[in-house]
């Protein structure tokens, strides 16, 4: 496995180098560190957005989920993300870019200025993203076990040290550069592997018919209550417009049009990645390896079985790229929730060097906690982190979208929507109140109702606030 290890070593060294080069610019100001100076062009931002979303979950997890729970369930979940990009492009991207701050918390505390919002939102972000990061780290670990033959724990520590290092010193600039490389690598490996499989084994239609003839559950809607399919779809469709690492990418675009366009191009690339994996590699994997105890290993088994060492090495790098391109963005967003959202007032009074130290320290703190949690990883990573993202969707979607588009949205409604959405999501998710529906299917309408009741019964928003929000719509 020497070739694979050398390739992966080169890849990790490249990431660190990018972080060091980017650090000169990134550590010079808040704008450079959190949003790459707001000058990222459309094509670069689109690839970086795609890479940020296409996580270990989108390479390892999408195939594991399709293998275990069937193609319809998997596409319901991942198509939700694509629809979410559409909603984001139309309803929030231009407005948030015009707002011109750093995080989703910045917008929500501007729209609903209250300590509950200022502290609860970053706490939700840290909780949800820790879950998300742990799931990504599992993908890195099992990849290294299967394709590099190194222990899970060693791989975990190595991957963590590398991505925390380049995120903590290189900020959004380093993430943007590494994400472009990582996104390209992911597309080339997944699409390239699919083309190779088609040339060798037959067309996607042949592979699909073969697999579903022997394993009909692959194509059926049988695995979950349908409300779970709908729930996963809604979680991602409503999370994308407000999920912090995507919002920070929107804020780093050079202008509102570039922000919208890059979202659309990113979802096209993401769609190609997912559809290629689901309709080519999954049917082959189901036929070749029908009894996998860990479904998340199906892609790795295909690579190990069919491809030579150089391609396997590139595949490990691609999975690590998928993991790291999302995890680095999550880590930066998580770090911003602490260093910018919660400690912002204190940090603002510090010297430039002190501010940099807090940013770097918070990135390392979050990363190390996630690494320890990942030592006991969950099953089926995609479902695990989708549950975490659901918390953000349930709590942030309604306050954000209503806050931009509904003139009666006010402080009472904003706080009510935030708290009610989160509380009901958690209560239903934990089974405290067994209602037989996916948590988000209940939590999101409850959040919207809380917003409307608060908006109607609470004090009306000031004219000044409405004018400031109205100005965010620009030329729409």
């Amino acid at each position: 496995m020497l070739v694979e290890r050398v390739l992966v070593g080169l890849y990790l060294a490249g990431c660190i180098t990018i972080g060091i080069i980017a650090s000169r610019r990134a550590l010079s100001s808040r704008d450079e560190y959190w949003v790459a100076g707001r000058r990222v062009g459309t094509a670069v931002n689109a690839m970086a957005l795609m890479a940020s979303l296409a996580s270990g979950g989108s390479i390892i997890g999408v195939m594991g989920l399709a293998y275990a729970q069937g193609i319809p369930a998997t596409l319901a979940l991942f198509t939700g993300s694509v629809v979410g990009f559409s909603i984001a492009a139309f309803l929030v991207a231009g407005q948030l870019r015009r707002f011109g701050k750093y995080t989703i918390t910045d917008f929500l505390t501007f729209r609903y200025p209250h300590p509950i919002v200022a502290y609860l939102v970053p706490i939700f972000i840290v909780v949800a993203f820790l879950i998300y990061i742990v799931a990504q780290l599992k993908a890195a670990g099992i990849t290294a076990v299967v394709l590099l033959g190194i222990p899970y724990e060693t791989a975990l520590v190595l991957a963590c040290v590398v991505f925390i290092a380049y995120v903590s010193i290189g900020g959004m600039t380093a993430i943007t550069w590494t994400d472009v490389v990582q996104g390209t690598l992911m597309l080339v490996i997944v699409v390239g592997a699919a083309v190779f499989v088609v040339l060798r084994e037959g067309s996607p239609a042949t592979l699909l018919v073969q697999a579903t003839s022997s394993y009909p559950e692959l194509g059926q809607v049988t695995q979950h209550p349908v409300s779970m399919y709908l729930g996963n779809f809604i979680i991602w469709a409503t999370a994308i417009p407000v999920i912090p690492h995507i919002v920070m990418r929107v804020l780093s675009a050079k202008d509102p049009v570039a922000a919208k366009l890059s979202l659309n191009l990113a979802m096209l690339a993401f769609g190609v990645l997912i559809l290629t994996a689901v309709f080519t590699l999954v049917p082959l994997g189901k036929t070749m390896f029908p009894g996998l105890t860990d479904p998340d290993q199906v892609f790795l088994n295909i690579m190990a079985e069919l491809f030579p060492p150089v391609v396997r090495g590139a595949a490990v790098a691609a999975v690590l790229a998928a993991v790291m391109s999302t995890t680095d963005a999550l880590l930066l967003a998580c770090s911003s929730a602490i260093a910018h959202d919660i400690l912002g007032v204190v940090v603002g009074r510090m010297s430039s060097r002190g501010q940099s130290a807090v940013r770097i320290g918070s990135a390392w703190g979050i990363g190390v906690v996630a690494m320890f949690l990942a030592l006991s990883p969950p099953d089926l990573i995609t479902e695990f982190y989708t549950a975490g993202v659901g918390l953000l969707s349930a709590s942030l979607f309604v306050p954000t979208v209503f806050g931009l588009w509904w003139s009666k949205a006010n402080l009472t409604g904003g706080i009510a929507a935030l708290v009610v959405g989160a509380a009901i999501y958690v209560v239903v998710l934990l089974g405290v109140v067994p209602i037989g529906y996916a948590p988000i299917v209940v939590a999101l309408p409850a959040s919207a109702i809380a917003m409307m009741v608060g908006g109607i019964l609470g004090a009306a928003e000031t004219e000044a606030m409405l004018n400031r929000v109205g100005a965010l719509h620009g030329g729409a």
Partner: protein, 71 residues
């Protein structure tokens, strides 16, 4: 008054955007109708195919709206 007027979806969102968003949402709603859960095509439930089409339809509709609007 200007702010209040600015914050209503129908009055502010461009017609093209509204149409693209409506197409995407409508396709999503139709995809989850119970009628598509049992029938299969090529071994995959119609729900799965509807989702696959939506994965392409949503970005294409958005791009058409955005680029058409810019021209």
């Amino acid at each position: 008054m200007r702010g209040a007027q600015a914050m209503s979806v129908p009055s502010r969102i461009r017609r093209r955007d509204l149409v693209a968003l409506a197409v995407t949402v409508l396709w999503s709603v139709v995809s989850f109708l119970p009628a598509w859960r049992e029938p299969e095509l090529g071994g995959v439930a119609i729900l799965g195919w509807m989702m696959a089409v939506l994965m392409v339809l949503a970005p294409v509709a958005s791009l058409i709206a955005l680029l058409g609007g810019r021209r």
